[in-house]
Subunit: 208 residues, 2 copies
């Protein structure tokens, strides 16, 4: 089972690494990280993730995962990347996005008129690309397409996919292997729970 991740400049690291840590544990999974230009891809911080292969070398996959990040914005007009997403999607059992990765699925034409998730700050951008944003964390968006909300939601999405691909018990064993028994010290993980003051703080750029 080939699991392909798209990487690109200014990807959000956890968008890719959350699902990676789940899906690489599927029995028989072979994982590849593909980019237009293979090699180190900058995340939206100082870390780089290495793409080990080019898009051309991955014409098909059983699972395609498209992460988000600031780097999605120029890619919504990049025909090479969008055509690749469409080409690989035609071969997948499941195509998935995390965070603003859904902007790329929408720009590739996979989400026209479909409910889809994205980062809460990107809802208007997703709607402008023809999808119907919804506030759920993991969304069955179209035939064989699952979209997840912001950043950390990719872990939940990947566990859902793991169960569909290999059964509930395998997904439970993976959840235990990564000890995913969340205990956030605050209850501020969605705009509704965080409240207006924290939403305003989180909407500001928080890095230098």
């Amino acid at each position: 089972m080939l699991v392909a991740f798209l990487l690109f400049d200014r990807v959000t690291a956890l968008d890719a690494v959350g699902p990676y840590e789940v899906l690489q544990r599927l029995p028989g999974a072979e994982v590849v990280f593909a980019a237009a230009r293979p090699g180190p891809q900058a995340t939206d911080g100082t870390l780089s993730l290495v793409a080990d292969t080019s898009l051309d070398d991955v014409p098909a996959a059983d699972v395609l995962v498209v992460p988000g990040g600031y780097g999605t914005r120029p890619l919504v007009r990049d025909r090479t990347v969008l055509d690749w997403i469409g080409q690989v999607h035609a071969t997948t059992t499941w195509t998935a996005s995390v965070c603003t990765g859904s902007l790329l699925l929408a720009a590739a034409g996979l989400l026209d008129g479909c409910e889809a998730a994205t980062h809460w700050l990107a809802v208007d951008e997703l709607a402008a690309l023809g999808a119907v944003p919804v506030g759920r964390r993991v969304v069955d968006s179209a035939d064989r397409v699952v979209t997840a909300a912001g950043v950390s939601s990719g872990i939940d999405m990947a566990l859902v996919l793991a169960a569909r691909l290999a059964g509930d018990d395998v997904a439970r064993a993976i959840q235990l292997a990564i000890e995913y028994d969340p205990e956030p010290p605050f209850d501020a993980g969605s705009p509704g729970k965080a409240g207006a003051r924290i939403v305003e703080m989180a909407g500001r750029p928080m890095r230098r």
Copy 2:
């Protein structure tokens, strides 16, 4: 504020990337990834994470994060890495580990007789190195030392550190920025919740 991550061959990607995604968003944070040999570091799957600097170039830090992974096992006898941990720890506000990263803190002498967390499969190894394993997710282990349980627990640990370093509201805003409102599809994230059959499955190597 300098946040230093130790990287090494066969690190678990999410152990590092979970805390990275939180701590890089701290106001004024500068993040470095240090390794004995800078460059791409293999994770315990196909992905590589890039260490941008050498241990020698990071003699001090405000926060030190030591992730886990199979690659910790040879390092518990690696004086270069253990001495570096001790040297940097002498300068930190907080030193933290995720998963089997606590084996390295213990081998470096930071956890003698102290309660500490680790991956549930590594409890005996941690005890053999002089720490007192406890089953909590985020543990205040010693003066300025926090240890976290397996893999995904680093996200919770980093949010705890973010609150201590920059206040509760900043931590809440970071939680919202990474949309950390967990909804695991199963309740199997700890051995006690997963039950004996799933524990046995998760203890077996699940990859090819």
